[in-house]
């Protein structure tokens, strides 16, 4: 019995520091506010390039708060930050390039087969 008790020493709840959760809930508030803002733009604004640009900027802000604070990347070493962010920046470049290529692809296929 005594042995069993010593095995479960960790059940004791003394010596545990108080939780520090203020920053976490603040980040949560920011994420909720940004999502709410996206919905305001989705219904109050005409669809178009301007609205899409706003959506993408708000999305990048949300991504920043998730990666920097929830995933803690902001407090890692510089080398780790760069080894993650640099390849990501390159894939974002590839995305922009290929997506804008889509309309050219559409035009060339249409012109090629419909004439």
């Amino acid at each position: 019995m005594a042995h069993h008790h010593s095995d479960n020493d960790f059940e004791q709840t003394n010596n545990i520091p108080e939780p520090q959760t203020k920053a976490i809930w603040k980040t949560f508030g920011i994420l909720v506010a940004l999502t709410a803002l996206e919905f305001v733009f989705a219904f109050a604004m005409e669809a178009g390039t301007m609205r899409n640009t706003i959506f993408i900027i708000l999305t990048i802000f949300k991504a920043y708060f998730i990666v920097a604070y929830f995933m803690h990347l902001k407090h890692e070493t510089k080398a780790l930050i760069w080894s993650i962010m640099l390849p990501l920046a390159l894939i974002v470049w590839l995305m922009v390039a290929l997506i804008s290529e889509g309309s050219y692809y559409f035009e060339s296929v249409t012109n090629y087969f419909n004439n």
Partner: protein
């Protein structure tokens, strides 16, 4: 003689081994690089979505007069406007907003579990892991409902030029627009849903380990941090899927 002394002398340079130049453990680094490679996969999906979308004509008429057609890419808020229990009511993007909130909330409970792990507070880790498992499972349930609705379709369906109507969507027919739209919906949200499912399985595993005191005996809760990184990444992907699939 001199050779043996140089061999015995401990190397202490940055890249000589035995230390952590990035101040992160092997496991955490590998999780980061796995997530980077996963980001490439999702990036490829979003590239295909964007390219296919630009390859089709957009709908240019009045939003009120919008009708489903194979001719143009559908407006997302006209496709995703259903809510469980509100049959026939037009609630654009309401359900997906709920799903987004659930996933963000699960990210917060996950980071609270990691924080409790830093304090070696076993009870708090258990509590927040359970909340995260709950929210993750609710999200999966929501996605199952959304898929079921998308597959079975609306009552009106789409009127084809030969007078017949098609209802719902699968990999070859799609009442909402070009078949490619449904294919990409299944692939992108399905691949994300698979990630959420794997995340819930990992969370259940580390929950069992926490209850058994495995991490407490080990002296640290780093495994909770690593699964946490994965879980936040799943949330991050949803933020992008939400923007590019439902908003833009």
């Amino acid at each position: 003689m001199s050779t043996s002394t140089t061999l015995e002398a401990p190397k202490s340079g940055t890249w000589d081994g035995g230390n952590e130049p990035l101040k992160a453990s092997y496991g955490k680094l590998m999780m980061w690089f796995f997530l980077l490679s996963d980001a490439f996969t999702f990036g490829a999906f979003l590239i295909v979505y964007g390219l296919s979308r630009h390859r089709h004509l957009p709908y240019t008429g009045e939003p009120e007069a919008f009708a489903f057609s194979q001719q143009w890419w559908p407006i997302p808020e006209k496709v995703f406007n259903a809510f469980p229990g509100f049959h026939g009511v037009d609630l654009p993007l309401a359900f997906v907003a709920l799903m987004t909130m659930i996933l963000i909330l699960s990210s917060v409970t996950m980071v609270l579990a990691v924080e409790a792990g830093h304090r070696m507070d076993k009870n708090d880790v258990q509590k927040w892991l359970l909340w995260t498992i709950l929210f993750g499972s609710i999200f999966l349930g929501c996605q199952a409902w959304e898929w079921a609705h998308f597959i079975s379709g609306t009552e009106e369906g789409m009127l084809l030029s030969d007078g017949t109507r098609i209802f719902g969507a699968n990999l070859t027919i799609n009442q909402y627009g070009p078949p490619l739209f449904a294919d990409l919906f299944f692939f992108i949200t399905g691949f994300h849903g698979t990630h959420v499912f794997s995340g819930v399985v990992l969370l259940i595993m580390i929950f069992i380990n926490t209850v058994n005191g495995v991490y407490h005996k080990r002296g640290h809760y780093e495994m909770v941090e690593k699964v946490g990184l994965y879980w936040h990444f799943v949330d991050l992907v949803w933020v992008f899927v939400f923007t590019f699939f439902y908003l833009v």
